[in-house]
Amino acid sequence: MAGEDKIKLEKMINGEYLETVKNVSQKIIFDNIQNKAFELFKLFKKALRENKDELKKYKEIYDFYNKIIIKFGFIGLPLLDDEDAVDLVGNYFTWQFRLPDYDFLGKFHSKLINTEMLEDRDLLKNKIKKVLLENKEIITSQGDLKTIAEWLRDYNSKLGIGPVDNLKKTQYITNLKSHKGVDDFDVKKLKILFSFYEGLKLSSLTPQGFEEEIPVIVKGKLYIFKQGELEPMEGKIKKSENTKEKPDEWQNLLDQYPVGSLERKAIEEEMEKIKK
């Protein structure tokens, strides 16, 4: 690296700069701006690497950057290198729960989609599975089982180490509350953990573990090939609770387009589905 590119410590510890970082990070995290999170993840990682010893003297600032790197890592997860992804998910799994409206499973799915080679996806899954089984982060603070490793051990001992049937998994999750000191939020966290763990067990080279969702026509009907199954497309549009059904307005919208036009067909489909 050229000398002029070296990151300046004095800037990193400057109060005004830190304030700006806080503002920017809030927006990036709140608005889930993946690209920018990834860029700053790389930047701060490099900054910490280059100024580690000096920065450790300012413990609070050092911790601040470390925390922000983890958060940016989660937001930019789909773009992270495998090594960083393993480190993040394997060692800071519970940090995701500090992020507002964060969809971890979706993010990890995107990370896998972004990995070209199916074999590489399997490698990544196996590595993460391994570190997750040794993860000592506390996911439920009350009760007998606390850490991720303990919960996964319990899960494995009761359901086995192979892919678990959905019904059995649901039963296990339903019984979670019988554990002493496990509240609703804990259940929500554990649900994500077990769903994620189950996903890691499936090889991307199998139809069930293949991440891409492929639209496919079978016998003239449209399906989505997803996790080894063909999902029929009809009747799948989710009705939003917030959506007001305004038939007359839909009709107005429909009337804007001539009969036979593609827009009209799309709107008709939409209306049909809302009626259902």
Binding site: K36, I113, E116, P215, V216, I224, K265
Partner: protein, 841 residues
Amino acid sequence: MREIFGKIKEKKRIIFFVVPFFVFLFLGVNFAFAAEEIKAAVGVVSGTVGGAVAIILSWIAYLITALIGMMTTAFINLLIQVAQFSDIINVPTVVNGWIIIRDLCNMAFILILLLISFATILRVESYDVKKILPKLLIMAVLINFSRTIFGLMIDFSQVVMLTFVSSFKEGGGWFVNMFRIDVWGKVADVSLMKDAENWGADTWGVALAVISGVVAAIITLIVVAVMLAILVMRIVMLWIYTIFSPLVFLGFAFPPLQKYTGQIWEDFIKQLVVGPVLAFFIWLALTTASESSSALYGLSTTSSTNPICIGVGAFFCNDNLQKFIIVIGLLMGGLIVTQQMGSAAGSIAGKGLDWAKKTGMAPLKGAKEGTSALAGYGIDKLHQKTGVDLNLPRVWKGVQERRAERRSERYSEGMIKAGQVMKEGSSLHGMLAMTGSPGDAWDQITTLKGIRQRMKGGRYMAKEREKWGAPARELTELKAQRDGILSQSEFDKEKATRETRITSIDSELAAKNNELTKAMASGKSEDVEKIRVKISDLEAEKIAKTEQIGVMEKMVKDDEARDLDSRIATKKAEVEKNRPLMEKNIPMYNFEARAAENKAVSEKTSKVKDISDATELLGILEGAIKSKDKTMVKAIMKKMTKEGNDNEFLQPLVGNTGHHGLKQMMRELSDKNSKNYAGFGEQEAFALGSEIAETNKSTNHWAATSSYLMENGQWRETDDREHNEIRSIESGKMEPQAIVRNINRLGYGYHDKEGNFHIDAGGLILLRKLDNDGGIKNIKDRMDESAAQHVFNAITDESGNLKDKFKGQLSNELVQALQIRLGKVKGENFKLQYERVKNLA
């Protein structure tokens, strides 16, 4: 051998003799003029002492030439003998060695079976019994025939090689003639020379002739010695590989060994190729050098009646020198090819070649470029072009991780080609193409569908699909025709709907007019304005509805509609009937091809990993399209898409960032008449498009998702209806808060060539989903700022009011919410802050 090279390296002065001769020859220097210059130089040392020195030098050089000549002759005889040797697998070394290795391998099977049993109990997937056992059993048999199999392959190589060897095996003299050994030390007949009086055979003239003979002798000896060494090494290595042949088959069955035994297999193949290639070049040199040198001789002289010489050596008269150079050149070409093989023998050849390069054999560079295509490249290229893979290790070992980048690229192209051949090719091609997909090969051989497909061949299947798929295509056409007309009942229904609305508009208008009168009377100007806008909107809507009725009336063709409905019903039944026949002819999906392609792309992506600037990436992409570097095109497009920058290439290249743009881009990549043609096949381009569309879901660029679907084992473009349907379902899975927060402008519409943003049908549906109390609240607080800005600009006019075409579809509350959001965004100045944070250096 190393010592010889070392000594030659030390005596670099030799170059001063050799280089000028070659330069004179190739540049066609005026020899008469050159002769004057040389004579003047020689005259300085032509006194009595100088003459004595010249005589001594001549004697020493003569002795060296004689010695090297004898060695060369001996080597040539040996070369002919070695080249003819063909009883390779029956020598006692091979027979005894092979028996021991075979027995060891047979014993190893017991251990492997035990290992499999343990692995199966412990559920270790890679040693699963179902996976390994079938191969293991077949290989257990093949191991005992490994020597015979290797022998057959060696025989095949020998047959080719001996075809060439047989033409020169009787002719040691042929070598002598071609290398011009007989004239190395000979003095030319000076009486016949042009300007003979000035070129008397003085002592220095003779000395120079004899010394140049030494140079020629050394070059010849090195070339012959290297060739001999290669052929001897080849035989020894073939012995060794045959001895270890059982291990190779064991490796095929047992993956952990494959890494090591695969190398033996590859090297064995290389050695098989080395012999015929070298023999071919020797044959080529001996049979064609004379004619080739005549052509060169004709070019480099001005007269064909008198011999033109440099000095008194006969070696430099007539076409002797040219013939020598051509022969040496061709043989060097042969050595370069063997060097490309990367074998042990090749590296010896490489050393000889290095020396030759240092002594000014630059013209051979061209030969290197020309001949290198025959090596590993050739097999890959054949695979790339035809989909037929002759590289047997590859067939069995699958995608090898250690493949070099270019080879890997060609391989992936070969895989795709194999798929195409299966789709379009002949029966024979279809069968051979199966070897293009190693992992699938097993399925193709062991499954009924695979066997049937092999028998049928791709072209036949394509024809069958064409035949049975005809009704489906006709059905689509009929439906399209039907969409353009209305039956009387349909028209009545549409008309009634509109008339009801017109009546309702009339009553609304009457009510609004009353309201207006009251508002005017009370002097509330704000209310007056609002009511007038509403009245204007209602009147516009009424006109639109009335016009629509008129348009639809012209579309009424009752009889035709009835006829089409009946034909559509019949056609539908026919399509259903043909469906099973269609499905029988759908090729098996080639996952291996996809995997190989992804590997090549992945490797290429790592090269541009650190480039994040979209403009720079676009430049690389344009260059890749121009040079038809398909792998780079895929790598860049996928990288840009992953980073949410697919619009950065779609907009400049095709002028549309939505699904229409994506489809157009992919069509152009495979359209020879397009400026964006990059050598893609249609299916290959569509597959890339499908991946881009899939990735766009994770970046929420919904306008460029759902662009392809798979039908009958082939990718095809979605039509607008399918696009909107799939898109709505996928984006419909998102919670409204997530829609507002995460979807940026490219989730609602697209940019055109001029950069203007437009809301598309899918975007409009999405906006309407947000056009309610909850959605509007979310928009005010959290909507992505870029989305808010672009959506606002797209749906409003200069005064900030809803554009006419959105009236009745989107509410003014939504517009106001966007305005509020934009007001908030302006205060935040995020971009500036972000840049400040990034500037940490």
